[in-house]
Every structure is written in C-alpha cells, then in structure tokens.
Amino acid sequence: MAQAQLEGAQRVGSRFPKFTFILDQGKQFGPRVGRLCLTRPSNCLPNHVIDIRTPNFLIGTSRGVVPHFSRDHVHSANGISWINVSFESFLEQTPPVPTYQAGSQPLHNFLGFDSSKHIVSLSLRDPLDAREMPPNGNSHVSALCMRGVRKVTPADWRSYVLTMQPDIAFALSDTPFTAAPHSQKRLTKSIERSAAWLADLLRPLENTDDSPTESTPTLNVFVHMAGGTSTSARRAFSHSLTETLHGLEANAVKPLRCLDEGVAGYSFDLAALHVRPAPLSTHHDRGGGIEIAENSLSLQNSESLAQTPTPNTAGTPTSLSSSMIEPLSFLSLAPTLDELLRASLDPLPVAKPRLVTDVRSPHEILRLIRDIGVDVFDAGWAVKAADIGVALDFIFPVPSEHDNSPDHRKRDIGHNLYDAKYAHDFVSLTDAFLAGHNRTSSSKTPVCPCAACSPVSSTSPIQHSKVDVQSHQAHSDDGTNREQFLPPFTRAYLHHLLHTHEMSAHTLLVAHNVAVLDALLTGVRTIISGHADQNEAAAIFAREVTRFEEVYDGTMSVLHTARDNWKDVKYARENKDARSVHSTEVQ
C-alpha cells in the first residue's frame, strides 16, 4: 500500500482540510483502486471525514449550480461527493460576489453544498469549455464570463482561492485556446507559465511568523498536466514538477524542495485535446437549460485523437526547458491519448490521484482505467446526455444474460427518449436496473436508486396551518407506506416532458444518469478490488472491459440521434414563438 501524505509545510492556517489519497491496489499504469480522504479540522464539524473510493467521479457546475438540480436534489442524489466549481462566471462582478460570503467554508456556504458530504474544488475555467479564447499572457489567463473575457493574474487567483477556501484548488494553467496548430515555442511557453503559476499558488502565506507544524493542513492543489499533444512537452512539464528547485524559485515555495511536493493530484483536461477550439461566437446559453456545445460528443474515443491536429515545428528551442523537447517534426504520427497521459505520468509518483475531465463515453472511462489508471472522471458527458433527452442504460460488469441482440447489433448505452417509440412505453428508464418499486428479494438485478427510478414520498411536508395535519394524516393512513418506493417515472412520461419542453425532464434525467455513472464506477471498483493478485485483477478487469465493448455501442450513436431530435424540438418551439409570442402556456 502506497500512501501520499500531502503534508506541505506551507502555512495557510487551519482553514484547509487535510486531503490524502491512499492507493490500495495498483501500480503506475493499469487498473487501480484507492481512497480519497478529506479530513476537516476537528473544530469544524462533528462529521468531518469524507471518504471517496476510487475510481469515482466529480460533477461540474454551471454558474455555481449543478445543472438542473435544486439544492435538495444535490443533497439526495446518489454518489455526488465531489463537486467542481468553475469560478469564471463570477468574474462578472468586481470583486467577485462569492468573496463577500462571510464565515467558515465560504464556498460551500455560498453555493449551499454540505461540508460533511461534499468535497468542493475550485477551478478558474470550466474544464469542459474548449472554445477559442484570446491568448493568455505571461501573467494572466483569459477567462470567460457573460460580460466578456477577463484577465486573471496568478495573484488574483491566489487571492480568490485563499478567500473562498475550496477543499481543492486547481492551479492556473496556460492551455492555449487559440486556433491550432500551436508552435513549439507556444508549447514551451505553456509549460513554463503553467509551472510558474503553480509555484505561485504553492507559495506560503505571507505574515505567518509562527513556524509550521507537521500537522498543519495546507491548501490542496491539483495541477493540470500541460504539454498539449506533444509527448515530449508533457514529459518536460512533469520533470519541471519534480526537479529540485534552487535559488529564488526554491525560496519562493520554501520549504517545498520541488513543486510536486505541494501537489495533491494531477488533472488532465481532455477538452482541448478532443476538439479544435471552436470560435467564441456561440456563447453558452443555458437559458433553456439544454444548450450544448456544437462540437461536443463528436469524438468518442481515444483513437479519434489521432485525427487531432499536430502542432507544427515553428520556432526553435530558446530556453533551457524547451531544449528538452524533441523537434515535433520527428513524430510521424500524432500520439494517442494513452501516450500523452503516460508521457505526463511517467516521471511522477504513482500514488497521487489522477483526474480526467471531458471523457465522453463509458468506454473511454473504462479504457482510461484499464490502460492508465485514472482515479476520478468528471460527469459532464452524463449531464450532457440528460440535456439532450438520453436516459443512460448500461451496467458494468455486463451480466451474462446480456448477450448481443439476435441481429448482432450492439446495445445502445441509453435511450433517446425523444423517439416516438417511447410514447407508449410505461416502464422505468433502464433495462439494466430495477425500479425500487419493482424490486424483489429473488432478483439479482440491482436497483437504480435515482429520483426517477426509485422516487420516495416526502416524509414531512411543510404544514402551512394547524389543520394541515388532517391532509397528511389522512393521506398516510390510506395504506400508503411512506417508507416504500413510489412507482418509477416512465419512458412515456419523460418522452412527453421532453416534447412539451418541460424542465422536469432534465432534472429527472440528470439524477438518473449520474446514478448510472455511479453504478458503473462501483462495478469497476468491485472487479478490481475483488482479486488480491494485481495482475489477475488487471486481466479480469480487461476481460470485462472487452465484454462491455462487445455488448455496448461505443460510437454512442444514440447521442447523435438524440441531439438531432433535441434540436428539432427546440427549433420548432423557437419558430412557433417567433410566430406568436403569447402562444405558450396560458392559464
């Protein structure tokens, strides 16, 4: 068992929880299981430890909220333990409004997350947003809010992080969101800036004279692994994290000997690798709540990355660190995602958590677990599927009775509920799971615990007058056992809600899709940890992944169809609205 105790001696007061990662089983590359453990200072709360088994997932926010969820859904949803907040939407005001939140755990409290249940991390940018942006500078990152582009300096970022006190902070990264290809000079700049900005976040707090103690909790910093689509640039960036610092650089982060000592985890934002940055003209509008980037979901697996543009070799090495990058023209083929991730991780310690954002299919998740050993994934793709009316329906490991259909078509990973075939389909959202209401003691099929498949009655409705007790008393006496699950919401109902533009559809689908993702990763952990011998575990896991790939359609064609249907319904409504503004919804 390897353990990374992330004990920097950086003194930032006792406001920050202690974050550890324990790798139970696994090695540098290959499937692995572990535990993320967040311990809040004991004076904080009675329930001050949050334990997350890995592989697991985090859910991103849009303008600070989990898409389509009210706060009670965030609290009741299954498996949501890590929430990432991208700060850039708050740059609309100066100073950003969340910084006005007083008291302890300001980020949790401002956004209503539960500090006994939720790890909340903070990144400047939305890691899923790969649209083209104005270039970053030597001392700023270009971030996007509704009022336009904002320049954020490392000093700004440090101050936002120290004020908001997230459980985990992502260091600024110089990821180019300008039109590819990027020159070697640009890549060199990118890794130099990223390392410098990481160092800035790792600087100890000013005005702390008392010497730090062993147990002082520190700011927990994740670093984005820079280097773009160049394996050598990636290797160079990782080396810059582990090399012993000297002189001024060393002084600045003292007592850290190298940057990696202060790093709690590594993150890989695939968005910039998946697609060529799209022009900014299509601004996100979640107005209808279901806007998705035009180019998202277009590349489904790591193989497709071979088609992403390769940086040119414009410019020659100019600095010490860039001289480590081999000329890119020597590369005959663009590297695969695997190669890129391995290049970054190879020089780094094995026992730090690895986070990947913007995965786009369960297949990609499984391959990244099998081939790399990724520990945390973001749930963005499952939320986007909910945006376009898809109820996920897959299970891992695949049960033996799930053989290919007679016509040898692979199963879809979900249901496009816009499809007319669901109009009369009165069953719950998945075939792979049972609804709580339909569970039996004899069945081995697991239950989907989400708010759509296993709804439960409210146990204590708000009473608005003293006589209201008669309403609730009489109702629960009617034989309705409040502990029992209510019948599931059906595909027919969701089909209706989608075609009538009802927002409730997306709320129920996010709840469901997140629960299916949670079950996927639970299945992964069960397989990997079920075998004491690591090689055996890896082999069995690989067999299960192959079987999953054989049974479920990895091209995710159901998402493409759903997105077309979603667009049709959306545009049909917009056209209708253009004809008669007052036509929708009267009393």
Binding site: S458, S460, S465, E502, M503
Partner: protein, 414 residues
C-alpha cells in the same frame, strides 16, 4: 367528495373547509398551482408534495393534444402518468380554445377549432370535454363553458352565459352516465361577464342544478377588467352560491386578490402567476415581489425571506446566488418556483389559521400593512374588504392607490 365547513370568520364571509376527495384531504381555502402539461415547471411531484401542496391543476386542452387520451388511458390516468398521488383538478379546455386559437368558432354543438397539429377542423363538445376529463381522471373536473373575454360587451355575453347553462346540462348528463361520480366531481362555472343581471340569471340556473354538481367556479373574470368590478362580481357570486359547496375563483393568483376573494367567501383559486413569474426571476414575499434580476441584489447575502420555510430559504440561498442564476440556469427557476409556491401556500395557510382562531380581520390588516405599507393600499381592496366589515384604513395613515395597485419591481430605479 366529502365537504365540510369547519370554521367561519365572525366578520367576513371567509371560512375554513375540509374537502376529502379520492386522493386525500385538502384544507380550504387553498391556492392550486398549475401543472399545465402534467408537471409543475421543473419540479418533481415528490418535491411539490414536500412543499405541503395537496391539490394541483392540469390543463385538459394541453393533455388532450399531448400526450393524448390514448396514452393517458394506457397509463391509467394522469395521476399515474405524472406520479402525483394527491388531488388533481382539470379545467374543461374551453378557456384555452379561446385564448390559444384565433380560429375557434363556437356553435351550439360545441367549439369548432383548427387542430394545432394538422389545421383540420376539430370539434370539442361538452360531452367530449367530460369524457376527456374522465380519461385524465382528475378528482375535480370542470364543465365546458362558453368563454368570452371579460372585456366583451353586448349580446354575446348573454348568449355565452345561456349556452354555458345548456352545456352544463349536457356535461351533467355525460358525467351521470359515466359511473365515475364516486371518484370524480363535476364543478359548474358561473358566467355572465361583468353584468350583475346576467350573473344573477346564471346563478339561478346553476343553483337549481345543485344536486348534480359538487362545486361551483366563478369564471369569466381575471381578464383585464376593472378591479372594482372584479370584486363585486366575486362577491355577488360567492354570496349566492350554496354554502355546502366549494367555491372556486378561476385565474386568481396575486396575494392581495387571493385574500380579498377568501374574505368574500371563496375557497379555491388557481393561477400560473407564481410559477411563471419565478421563471422570470421574481420572488414573492410578504413585503411584495422581489425582482432578483435587479442589480441591487447582486451582493446581497440575505435569503429571500429568512422566515420562509421553503427549501430555498431554509438552505440559506442568498439573493446574490439567485441573482447570478435566475433566467439563466434552470436551477434558478426551480429555486424560485418552490419559494413562490410555498409563499402562496403560506398566505392561504395563514388565512386558515386566522379564521380558525377568530382573528382573520387582523390577519388581513397585518398582511396589507406589510405588503403595501410603503406604497399605500389599492383602493379596490379597501372597498372590497369594507363590504365584508373589515376597514383596512382604520388606524393607518396611508394613501389610497387607484387602479389595480399591483405591486411590482420594474427596474433598477425601484
């Protein structure tokens, strides 16, 4: 339906009633949120129930178009379809025919309209409206009425009233032979426009049919008429409608309108206002509406109302967070929708307690003082409440506001 008056205000005509339907007990007076297309916008039925809401409304016109009667029949009715286990009311579809379709042609047989799907002429008869509502399976169903805009004048108003009575008879007949009278309850709708004489004629005819109807609605109002005319028609109808039947005022949703109606003897009301205004970023409070889009809320760390029991306020969600997300994120609409529904329920729940505890006049006075104390009282509310023995002006020195007096936060200047 079991309907029982359990308390009466000693001064006004307000009362507290217990209405037991096939899906449980609803205490009256109550406000009914509108789930037009079988969903309260953005919420799940379990969330709605957790807010203490026991009666919601579905629109027959919309459900008949989508998902359609076949789907509802297969699902076993709208309760099953949408997962709502509490009481449900459906309108008859008549109002939407007139408000949504320019091409509706009313004949004695029924309403002839162009199908929004294929443009083909489609007839909605009273019998069909009732049988559609039987498929939906709501606990309370409404007669098909001949709806004219409340601003209509001339012989058309009388014609519509008389036709509504004739259509009521056809609805009663259809309902009587359905065998569903134990589960579904038919309400009549009093029409007659703004003409007290026509209203009286309609009341005469409909009260005559009392044994065949479970309750009465007051229709044809809330369409832009003068508020001083509105309350007088409500009062005229509520005064004459039988006391052992619930009285339902259609399309009423502003807090001050609700309380005036309750004081005049109304038991139920519905309106899309609280849910619709939520989607535009407006939170309802006992001090008047708050437009959270306004810049003044940008940095406010206060909840909408720290005394409000709704999940949004109870979670401490600040006006600043709401300002950041309303009209942009669906979650902003959800947060304000639950708040506004709880506000409506609190206004009505407060009225129930006050009537039971014999302090309803005081409740009215304190509500109006909190809500309008900074601007002055709408004169029509003062007039309406004086007609039932409550003088809002007693002991207060406030200006009277002409017109509707509706309170609103329009701009950053407010």
């Amino acid at each position: 339906m079991q309907f029982e008056v359990i308390a009466k205000c000693h001064t006004t005509r307000a009362r507290v009633c217990r209405m037991k339907l096939a899906h449980g007990v609803t205490m009256l007076p109550t406000f009914m949120p509108v789930a037009t297309q079988a969903a309260i916008k953005g919420l799940t039925p379990q969330q709605v129930e957790s807010l203490g809401i026991t009666l919601i409304l579905n629109n027959t016109y919309h459900l008949n178009l989508r998902p359609g009667i076949k789907v509802l029949d297969e699902a076993g009715g709208a309760h099953n379809f949408q997962g709502w286990n509490r009481n449900l009311l459906t309108d008859s579809g008549g109002f939407q025919l007139v408000s949504l379709s320019k091409f509706t042609d009313i004949t004695e047989d029924g309403a002839l309209f162009a199908s929004p799907f294929n443009g083909e002429p489609t007839m909605l008869t009273p019998e069909e409206s009732i049988s559609i509502q039987h498929s939906i399976g709501a606990d309370i169903i409404m007669q098909l009425d001949d709806v004219v805009s409340s601003l209509t004048v001339g012989p058309r108003v009388g014609e519509a009233m008389h036709r509504s009575v004739r259509w009521l008879d056809r609805c009663i007949e259809q309902h009587e032979k359905s065998g569903r009278k134990d589960k579904q309850n038919l309400f009549a709708i009093v029409q007659g426009g703004l003409d007290p004489a026509l209203r009286d004629l309609c009341l005469d005819a409909m009260i005559e049919r009392k044994d065949q109807v479970a309750g009465y609605a007051i229709g044809g109002l809330s369409g832009g008429e003068e508020k001083d005319v509105f309350w007088k028609i409500i009062k005229q109808c509520a005064d004459r409608l039988p006391s052992d039947r619930p009285r339902y005022s259609m399309g009423v949703g502003f807090a001050e309108d609700l309380l005036v109606c309750v004081a005049l003897g109304v038991d139920m009301a519905d309106c899309v206002f609280p849910t619709r205004t939520a989607r535009f970023g407006v939170a309802l409070t006992f001090k008047g509406p708050l437009n959270l889009k306004l810049g003044k809320h940008t940095k406010s760390m206060e909840p909408i109302d720290k005394n409000c029991p709704c999940p949004t306020c109870a979670s401490g969600m600040s006006r600043a967070v709401l300002h950041h997300i309303v009209t942009i994120e669906t979650a902003g609409a959800h947060a304000l929708t639950v708040h506004n529904l709880v506000f409506q329920a609190q206004v009505m729940g407060g009225a129930r307690d006050a009537i039971l505890e014999a302090r309803f006049p005081e409740y009215l006075r304190s509500f109006f003082f909190d809500y309008f104390g900074d601007a002055g009282y709408p004169e029509w509310c003062v007039n309406a409440l004086r007609s039932v023995g409550v003088d809002l002006m007693q002991g207060v020195d406030l200006p009277l506001v002409q017109g509707s007096g509706v309170k609103w936060e329009y701009s950053d200047a407010a």
